[in-house]
């Protein structure tokens, strides 16, 4: 069995989760503080990828990143770089698809934050960055961790947008989900089943991790 799809899926999921961890948290933090109207509008736009079919996300991404489209053409001309059909093209797809998961859970966590902690900290003379990293983030740790794990799991299983942006090339762009589809399509039922089991095992471990995180937090009195 060629393990490339597993490796490829994991590196795509890891990189996009790291990116979305920061982007999601910072947008959640600033949008949670925004005026109501701005918040409402941004919320709709940023949550959209969660409800759109992944093929629609893939289509829209191709509209801008494709070799003949505005951004894609610019990169091709200036850097001789094709943004589609490489293994890392999938990162564009997964980041867009998992962003709402991170953003929404982080925002929920920030909104439940007890602002009196921040006010007290400010009065004690603690800097705003100290307050963010040492008070606000630890307080919201549970929600943020849950969001991160969910985002990672979703990135690992992304199929629609990924297959549109980087297709299926064995040993180059194949991920677990595109491999399963390809194997099933070519009647290689045995191998398809093996990959399905691999995917199930990973999902199982991830969900177990989420549950254990929640339990641990529950015991410590909801810190």
């Amino acid at each position: 069995m060629d393990w490339f799809p597993l490796l490829n899926s994991i590196r795509i999921a890891l990189i996009s989760t790291v990116i979305i961890f920061f982007v999601g948290i910072f947008s959640a933090y600033y949008i949670a503080k925004a005026p109501r109207l701005v918040k409402g509008v941004l919320d709709v736009i940023l949550t959209l990828p969660l409800v759109l079919p992944p093929t629609v996300v893939g289509y829209l991404l191709l509209r801008v990143l494709g070799p003949k489209r505005i951004i894609g053409a610019w990169f091709l001309e200036n850097f001789d770089l094709k943004l589609t059909m490489t293994w890392w093209s999938a990162i564009f797809a997964t980041t867009v698809v998992i962003f709402p998961l991170m953003y929404r859970t982080a925002r929920g966590a920030f909104e439940s934050f007890d602002e009196t902690l921040a006010y007290s900290a400010q009065s004690l003379g603690l800097s705003n960055s100290y307050i963010f990293w040492r008070v606000r983030m630890p307080y919201c740790r549970q929600g943020i961790l849950a969001g991160t794990v969910l985002a990672f799991a979703r990135a690992l299983g992304e199929y629609g947008a990924t297959s549109m942006l980087c297709g299926y090339t064995p040993g180059r762009t194949a991920t677990i989900s595109t491999t399963v589809y390809q194997l099933w399509r070519t009647n290689d039922d045995g191998l398809a089943f093996q990959w399905v089991m691999v995917n199930l095992a990973i999902s199982f471990v991830v969900l177990l991790a989420v549950n254990m995180l929640e339990k641990k937090n529950g015991k410590k009195g909801g810190i």
Binding site: D114, T116, L117, Y119, Q122, S123, L126, Y130, P138
Partner: protein, 348 residues
């Protein structure tokens, strides 16, 4: 003068407009919830920004809308304590205190400060506990220690005792009074509890709907609250509207009683009588009354009375010791209200 506040702020339909000063003393803002007392405190701490005005603490201008001065909460050095104490839940007691000492840049000095405050507040044995492992009283002690180690110019206490049971509250009030004495500078206390306010403060500002209704020494404010709201907030349960009679007497319309009072100015529109100041037997402003209801308290009775043959719409309450009522108990009793016991109030 260590604190000068003169600010205005519009908050939706709520309009805050307060002006007061205080020396090295404890001043309390007394008011019902939503009167603007906590908002005032937040404006002093720099968490909320007033629309205009001036805030000066210890000669340092914290806020001045004309001169465009608006110090950050960090630069203001106001020791702000919330009702829930706002201890950082992810840090131990020691880490919380250390966080409070961060303004001191010299590590040696900082350690000494932390050490001495841990000892003087008796926190050494809890050093490695987390806030949720402490009782309410211990949490309050940590919060105070954390504030004092940050060397504030002023203490701002927002409802410091309302999260506590009454027996603990009494004990902690004594501790906090001690801390305040040691601190020796201006303390602003926000509370809705008149007894607590009276015990804790030198002066009192009674607030209602974003304004200060009455300000003065605690004795003066309780003896002469001047407004209907002030009377109610300082615990006067009997308040009635009045009509002025030609002979200078006041007719308390709710109780249907005509009262002789000491020089009532023309703007007086209501009177108040504290339940404990009513006296038994004949005398000035004497009435025979029917007992409408007898309410038993742990150590006293509250007797609701209505003058005989009157058009009284709201009975007047009289509180007296159990042993006294047990002697006087009857369906009809004679009472009188000494003229100096009648509080003359404005509505406004």
């Amino acid at each position: 003068m260590s604190l000068y506040v003169d600010i205005e702020k519009n908050w939706g339909s709520f309009h805050l407009k307060v002006k007061f000063e205080a020396g090295d003393e404890t001043i309390s803002l007394l008011g019902a919830s939503g009167c603007g007392k906590s908002l005032t405190l937040k404006c002093i701490a720099g968490i909320e920004t007033p629309d205009k005005g001036k805030i000066i603490v210890d000669g340092v201008t914290l806020f001045d809308s004309d001169k465009k001065i608006n110090l950050s909460p960090q630069e203001r050095r106001t020791g702000l304590m919330f009702q829930n104490y706002a201890l950082f839940p992810n840090m131990t007691v020691l880490q919380n205190i250390r966080a409070g000492a961060k303004r001191e840049k010299d590590a040696q000095k900082r350690n000494n400060m932390v050490q001495s405050v841990m000892e003087s507040f008796g926190l050494s044995e809890f050093a490695n506990r987390y806030p949720h492992q402490l009782s309410g009283g211990q949490q309050q002690r940590v919060a105070l220690a954390r504030i004092l180690v940050s060397s504030p110019r002023i203490l701002l206490l927002d409802e410091p005792f309302s999260a506590l049971d009454s027996h603990l509250r009494f004990k902690l009030e004594r501790e906090v009074r001690h801390v305040i004495r040691e601190f020796g500078k201006t303390v602003v206390l926000v509370s809705h509890d008149r007894d607590e306010v009276f015990r804790m403060s030198d002066s009192i500002a009674v607030m209602d709907a974003g304004r200060i209704e009455r300000i003065g020494s605690r004795g003066a404010v309780f003896a002469d609250p001047q407004t209907r709201k002030g009377a109610i907030l300082t615990g006067c349960k009997n308040v009635s509207s009045i009509e002025r009679l030609e002979n200078g007497q006041l007719w308390a319309t709710d109780w249907d009683m005509v009262l002789t009072v000491q020089n009532a100015l023309l703007d007086v529109t209501a009177v108040g009588v504290r339940m404990k100041t009513i006296r038994p037997g004949p005398g000035e402003n004497g009435y025979r009354c029917r007992v409408v209801e007898e309410i038993e308290n742990p150590f006293s009775y509250t007797i609701m009375l209505e003058p005989l043959n009157s058009k009284c719409t709201v009975p007047i309450g009289w509180e007296l010791l159990k042993k006294d009522w047990e002697i006087l108990r009857a369906d009809e009793v004679g009472i009188h209200i000494p003229t100096e016991a009648v509080l003359l109030l404005r509505d406004k």
